[in-house]
Subunit: 119 residues, 2 copies
Amino acid sequence: MPCPFASTPAPPYYAVIFAAQRRAGADAGYAQTAARMAQLATAQPGYLGVVSSRDADGFGITVSYWRDAESIRAWREQIEHARARARGRECWYTHYQLRVARVERAYDWAAAAPPEDLP
Amino acid sequence: MPCPFASTPAPPYYAVIFAAQRRAGADAGYAQTAARMAQLATAQPGYLGVVSSRDADGFGITVSYWRDAESIRAWREQIEHARARARGRECWYTHYQLRVARVERAYDWAAAAPPEDLP
């Protein structure tokens, strides 16, 4: 399993919070497009990372992190991304919420690794 | 199924983005505490709403919305909440990331309801 966390620099930077309800049974092309968008985002100037989770009822949250508001604007205008969003409204989602926010503080915590190399 | 979306006012307001990996099989008391924290948060001054999703691998994202940074500080210092966080580090999580961000822009979109009352 790949690490699901984002390695972000010290604040300030920006977050795009995307919460969405998938339509029941509407999977045609979704996974392929989601993977393609993840790949494209990584190559965008100012992209810092992403975290994503979707529950068994099809409600998902994706938070992508960006250097600044200009990076977010450029990603929104990326033509393949704009087409994917239109397809999302037509086919994949019943409802979504988007929030653009400036990250001011950040904390990471991890449990101490078990001492596997002790006798 | 209750509506999973948050009804937030016009920006600006604040978001607390909590991304966490649950430990495998570590469920003792978790659901009860999570429900209690949701109930307590709702009663806090400045609380605006929450969205939450957890995937089948135990990776979850919760975004809670608050009127201002002072509301977030007061919630962090709420004693029962502080104890629950300590319990989370001891028992429930292997890793988490917390981001505090000022929401600057917000969009909501919903598919048009199907015309169920047409012949």
